[in-house]
């Protein structure tokens, strides 16, 4: 992968922050967009703008065609068929869609949902809502001291009562890559369905929902070089048949009378209202960007950066790394705390050096609490990051130490 060439595709990386070259290491929060994505959106807006599936005029037909092409591209990227890919705002909305339209309808008292303490709040709270509404029980799998999912605890808590296993592909806080294939196999043995929160996994690890046989997969476009406000949720055909609609209104109906309505077949049932067409087009273009580079090469590149950053960060005295030390089971996310210095102060001083990182609990409060932390600092990588960026991070951290010495 030619990183210099990749960098040229991202106009924002030319920005200077406080007079220094921007080093963007907050990719787990949101990624940057390449000009190909920006251009695809612009092209649609300038040449084909119309509502989809409504009009018979040329523009509407073009827009509908482009929108459905985008669906096909995005679906194929995760191994799904177009008839199983629903466009949503983001992973959060995708998980909520499954929770409300499938969970509320298919779970009952005495049954259980199994999730993990490593989840982002968006893969925890919707299940709290379902459990509270239907009287089901939420089981939460533990994490080991190394920041790896405790599979023994998973086995203990998985039972005939488990109706759904909801697990992330890759932790946004520790970077831990969970063995989702094995988890699906284990869940199948007790007849449980599986939802994978792919917000970090789809673009950094890669996934094939058909190969691993997942029921649901949710992800966000903006974390994978696409626009904000668009994401996808894959729902297996058989599960779709067990579901009512999520939001209701225009576009999701077959027939409407005064008192009752019939839902549309297929994915339209779950896409009420005018969809984010330009967002979907941008997301499809972002998918193509990954495909051109190749998911394996992306993973290799990020693995290299993770390995290098772990090696460099341990050299800083007083720095405690969070999560596994093995880059084989860790995506491009490195989180840490520095003794006596709050994560916000670390992030602020890094910002003064042009290095953008995240500080706080990264929407994983239960995990932070379990690891004995209030907050942490997180650097997360993507295709446009280099070893030089890691060096700038380390230099910045040395400055943090100087300021607070």
């Amino acid at each position: 992968m030619n990183i210099q060439k990749i960098k040229e595709d991202f106009p924002i990386l030319k920005r200077k922050i406080h007079g220094k070259r921007l080093v963007y290491l907050d990719n787990a929060a949101t990624s940057q967009r390449p000009r190909q994505v920006l251009e695809a959106i612009r092209e649609f807006q300038e040449k084909h703008m119309a509502n989809v599936h409504r009009g018979l005029h040329t523009l509407s037909e073009e827009a509908s065609e482009i929108y459905e092409e985008a669906r096909e591209t995005v679906a194929k990227f995760v191994g799904a068929g177009a008839e199983e890919m629903i466009f949503v705002r983001n992973a959060t909305e995708g998980i909520n869609l499954v929770a409300f339209a499938w969970g509320m309808k298919n779970l009952k008292k005495g049954e259980e949902i199994l999730t993990t303490i490593m989840e982002h709040h968006s893969n925890l709270i919707p299940w709290q809502m379902v459990c509270r509404a239907v009287g089901a029980k939420l089981q939460v799998v533990e994490v080991t001291n190394e920041g790896v999912l405790d599979l023994k605890d998973f086995e203990r808590k998985l039972s005939k009562r488990t109706r759904l296993v909801a697990v992330g592909h890759m932790s946004n806080a520790t970077g831990t890559i969970h063995p989702v294939e094995r988890i699906v196999r284990m869940a199948r043995k007790v007849g449980a369905r599986v939802l994978i929160d792919g917000a970090q996994g789809v673009q950094h690890v890669g996934i094939d929902v058909k190969r691993i046989d997942s029921d649901f997969l949710a992800f966000s476009g903006h974390k994978m070089l696409g626009p904000m406000g668009i994401g996808g949720v894959y729902i297996k055909k058989a599960r779709q048949r067990e579901m009512g609609p999520f939001l209701t209104g225009g576009g999701m109906i077959k027939e409407v009378s005064e008192q009752r309505s019939k839902w549309a077949d297929g994915v339209e049932k779950f896409e009420a209202g005018t969809p984010n067409v330009s967002g979907a087009i941008g997301l499809a273009e972002a998918v193509k960007y990954h495909e051109r580079l190749g998911m394996e090469k992306i993973r290799e590149h990020e693995k290299g950066l993770t390995k290098y950053s772990l090696e460099e960060l341990v050299k800083i005295k007083g720095l405690r790394l969070i999560g596994p030390r093995d880059a084989e089971i860790r995506g491009g996310v490195v989180s840490f705390v520095i003794k006596g210095i709050h994560a916000h102060d670390v992030a602020q001083i890094l910002d003064s050096e042009g290095v953008a990182v995240r500080s706080g609990h990264h929407c994983t409060m239960p995990l932070h609490r379990r690891l004995g932390l209030v907050s942490s600092t997180r650097a997360s990588f993507y295709i446009y990051n280099t070893k030089e960026d890691v060096d700038r991070l380390v230099e910045g951290l040395r400055k943090v130490k100087r300021v607070f010495k």
Binding site: I341, H342, A343, H344, D345, Q348, I349, S352, S359, G360, H361, H368, V374, S375, V403, F404
Partner: protein, 122 residues
Amino acid sequence: MDLYREEILDHFKNPRNFGVVKKTKLRAKETNASCGDVMEMSLRIKKGKVEEIRFQAEGCAISIAAGSMLTEMVKGEKVAEVKGLGEEEMMKRLGIKVSSGRRKCATLGLVVCQKAIRKVRK
């Protein structure tokens, strides 16, 4: 660097009036959910003035330094004046340009202090 000027770091490393005022009902606690900062203030009033004020906190340098400075600001002041203290006065005392994202850190002490002092019986 401006934000972490010497005085701020000094208050962070050696917070003034750190601890708890005993035998008082005038105490309050607040957290900044987004960063996990926790601050507790307790104070004693005598003849309408703040006789003693102490704070305890876990948090970033800005919130601790601001809390520490605030205790110095309000000690010996009239209750009414402390109640009327505004965010701007706090910012002025800090003497640094705080970004919008850190404003909550800088004003946490003020919020907790005023929450405690509102418990004074009229």
